[in-house]
Symmetry: D2
Subunit: 367 residues, 4 copies
């Protein structure tokens, strides 16, 4: 019942504090025979990395993954894959002022209330540093999904503060520091973020992740629903306050005639459902969006209390993103991939001899 | 790994199809010594019941719960509590037209693709009939939370289509068929729903559930977060397409100075976080909102395909709500209660000897 | 984490007290497409039934299983299969004397110590009545194993008191009331049991179960070992005090040269291991034996205490077997089948694309 | 559903291969506030260590545990505790001859059949090297049990080959290399083992572990029984082929009058049950025994096949114990401690407000 373990058949257990000796994870349940080496983790860890641009936190670590087990001669063996990253750039002195203070918007107070003891250095276990291992584990899931099933997962930022994309071009998402799908807006975003940083404040963001190629039938009914597990996965990412599948909250004001995705032999006529019906994939792209709250660690002073119960004022001086949602794109992709791989294995377990069921219509409608 | 089981220490396993002989559940992990009898289930089952008013589906069943086990002389014994409801008003002929057709917006196609076989009567397992047992199980959780911890859970409808409450009065929620918090709007809603029904169409809704009295410290970090589990619980309810904790998606456009809930010795100054920080309850009210899509079963014909892969047209003639979100209020309350009771037991397991940790500030600020 | 649920991918949740309204179970995870009807349960339930002969308890119930869900038109649908048996012959007055007394060798005292409340009628939840549902669930597993994989499971009694079989003939096991593999000894056993019953005492037994046809590769390493899960399954049966795989405790006095099963291209040269190496099936017959303690409910008075903490004397007058191990044969077979089916599904999940790995030698050596 | 994870509320996930870079584990669910440092692991790891005497395997490693997380300023914080040991003395060349050969009695063939790929160096994941982390995790459980509940766990060797103790003196168990409870027999055992080693053969052993101070009420009924989980825990240790609770297989030939433990206000009159009734602790010492098979890696050649399916002969030249059961004492203690701590937390979760239930009789009878 470990609360540090994610997934049922593909289980990821993470450990480690922000400023402890190391962070790591154990990935259990990966099928044997998948090619894997330490270099595979580099790209996504860099996408997530602090220090990527001046718009994200300035912590700079190599984040080199060491594979401790589960791989022999470059191939997974079916035994647990342990991954380790040493914490080398943990400047604890930056955090001196939070040892005895509960930062508003952070988990300092709630961890303290739960455990009666906490590792305050850099937020300890509650730091987003933990998500590094989600990204690492997600690399394995992405690789397996792509190689075994042709499933790909890709995310982008869909809103920063009040700014929304004025167009969508998937090809530009990876070419700017905001994972933004409209190239023309990038200078505007840079100015926006610079002004935000100068003001010492922060802002929220919306991130959308899509999975292409998910076969109809993946997902479990009732309490193991694909959308239910995606919701849990995404809500477990630091700073997420909302999750939508497909049209999400827009569905509240929709009519049934508008929302239901009609079906033809050539495919679905729309994808309001976000690729999931009754908790099971329909064969359409799976679409999930998340709301990230504005970074709580900001330079503007805020009222709080200290461990003695006395009123105090908090100013965070450490390295922090003014918009944590941006770096969350690869994290959200990783969670999507982990959920999908887990569901794929579960589907194989129960329905492994069902095969492809006719009639199967295409996921997307080519009018 | 049962996908029909919910919860870790308080486990609820449900079974049954919409038009099968019976539906039921097994509630495992309830502490001994809780007073319980069959009458306890009546109120919430009626709140959820079909046939409550002309604005909800016309299926009329007694929904009398039989307690099959786990209770002796009116008190829980610590052994599994099995609950059973016979299906007595299952008019299968209403559903004749869906035997060979995949209804758009329903799980017909995805169940078929997953299993290669399905019980089509009334939607079979994918019917919202299953949620009856969630409500029944939730009654046990509500009772335990209230009696042991003084925690109460209550929901209301926060939006129907484009209509939002023009005021909030908790005392009127249970006095109208829409669980609506503003009495003056009820006639307007009645007209709105009547018009909707005449048009043969349906509409979405937003539901909000609050829990009062949740002590600071309940909830688990990382992958067992209170908000993560609430998200999974709520997203697993039929027709839910989005989940928000506290401000939810509104946080995207907020600034850090605006969102973070500052703390004083007299309590928090706001509750944008919805009572959860780092996955752990802060002592403030826990607030969750859900987006319900418009009912997919509508009288307006829609394009689809049949089992032979041929194009067809679907018109649903059975009994259906034009707005499924309304009846979902007690379901969402039940899921909230089940999550909280499970987390309470988990907190007791790991932190049972931690006790109340000073400084503990009040959940709500009394300026 | 339900303690009333068994299995990971094939999950069986049982409920019900000996003298409550009903007992039942929910079998979750069974693949779709398996033919199943209520009649399928009859044979094994009769093999287990009380009242089978004068050598077992005299409780006589129809034990007719009702299928409440998960089956449509005679075929499993992949949704949870709920099974129900009403308790019709629960003569609670027989047990009047145990309401306030803790019977030695029973769970009365420990349930009381754990929960502070208990249903004393017929032993409540701790009664072997619960194993009826194991047998019912096991029928599904046996059927799936046989039809999908050609795996069969069969048990026999290998010792009663100090009497051991003087020969082994599988064909006679089902022809006598002792599941005894040597027909000539049956009259001797009948006299032995009659004398035992007259003396008011009881005796222990050893039961052995074999599975034929289990493919090499089923089973999980480390904490999900096939032998580990068989041990848990068997030890969870009422009255079991020991479990052996293959040679079991005889291995203590063996030499390595003697115990290790040498391999040839024609197959293994022996099966001391009981078909399991490193927790994974070797392709040989899987062999498990269990020690059943003598029935604790006997006519000979025994010292005990009552709920007031006063000394008392206990004589059990109800209907009880003088040797509970005999009727346990179908129960142990059921547990073996449930473990194997669960492992088969797990193997399919992780290694579903591994296929048959050469060189694969025959399970049994044909010299 | 990780098969490399043990325990429900106290979860231990182990990873690592015998000759990979490292072995390690993640202990999740340990309550906060337990004092812990790296030195705490030393004693039990030495008790288990290879190279302890000439009677056990000659591998010599420091086995220094590094605590990677979950401990802050010498105290557990409630977050996962990751432990790491680097493999420094892995002489892979010793194992060159098993790269392409399946050793009889080992998991080589079954891992190969399951996964189609394996790490053959030193047995890879199937090596008893993995049990090092069980011992390390067990240290945490032993510490918590002793400090919070006064529960102690201690094991000894109860048989080697055909040799059984001629007396029992707990105080000598730790003073000889055989964990033998009768000092006079130690010289005899030394001669016995020397002769065995010279012959190139190996022998089995029986190990018994007791837990003192376990309160009545710990343990779960039905599928989470204390004895069931002990059976799984012990059977999961490499080379174990049988598990007994209390009298175990001796109960087969016992009468009910003899086996049932009568109760008086001064305590139980005997402990044939091994401290467990109905899966729940009775307050008496919990007693478990295990049968260890003789070491499969021996110098005497044995027939086998190679990966090409050709017949071959196997002689193991590496460092191996002639009697693996001896070193298993601390491993079995660790598994006992892990099961008990897990059950203690589960009991607290469900029955945390039950308290001590009268009448509670002493665990042991003082005549």
């Amino acid at each position: 019942m470990s609360s540090n373990t994610f997934g049922k058949l593909l289980s990821v257990t993470t450990f480690g504090e922000s400023h402890g000796p190391a962070i790591g994870c154990v990935v259990d349940g990966c099928p044997p025979g998948l090619a894997l080496d330490a270099a595979a983790f580099r790209a996504d860890l860099e996408r997530r990395a602090t220090g990527k641009s001046r718009h994200t936190s300035q912590r700079r670590e190599a984040d080199d993954v060491e594979i401790l087990s589960g791989v022999y001669e470059g191939v997974t063996t079916g035994t647990p894959i342990a991954l380790l990253i040493r914490n080398t750039d943990a400047r604890s002195k930056d955090y001196g002022n939070i040892l005895d203070t509960f930062r508003p918007g952070h988990a300092d107070y709630t961890y303290w209330q739960k455990y009666g003891v906490r590792d305050p250095r850099g937020g300890g276990r509650s730091s987003a540093r933990e998500t590094t291992m989600r990204v690492a584990a997600g690399v394995i899931a992405k690789k397996w999904l792509a190689e075994r099933h042709g499933v790909t997962v890709h995310g982008h930022v869909a809103q920063i503060g009040e700014i929304v994309p004025r167009g969508f071009d998937a090809s530009v998402v990876e070419t700017n520091p905001f994972f933004w799908p409209h190239a023309e807006q990038v200078p505007e975003l840079e100015s926006y973020m610079d002004a935000l940083r100068k003001s010492g404040d922060s802002v929220g963001a919306k991130v959308t992740v899509l999975a292409d190629g998910v076969p109809a039938g993946w997902g479990e009914p009732i309490y193991g629903k694909l959308d239910g597990e995606l919701a849990a996965a995404m809500m477990s990412i630091n700073a997420v306050k909302g999750v939508e599948i497909g049209d999400g909250f827009a569905a509240v004001a929709q009519r049934g005639t508008q929302h239901r995705d009609e079906m033809t032999v050539a495919g679905f006529l729309s994808n309001h459902a976000g690729g999931i019906l009754g908790g099971i994939a329909s064969g359409q792209p799976v679409v999930v969006s998340m709301a990230f709250k504005p970074t709580s660690s900001i330079l503007v002073p805020g009222r709080s209390i200290d461990r003695a119960g006395e009123p105090t004022e908090v100013v965070t001086k450490g390295r922090h993103d003014p918009c944590v949602g941006i770096r969350a794109v690869p994290i959200a992709e990783a969670m999507m991939a982990l959920v999908l791989m887990d569901q794929a294995l579960r589907h194989r377990a129960q329905c492994g001899d069902v095969g492809v069921v006719p009639p199967r219509i295409p996921g997307t409608f080519e009018g």
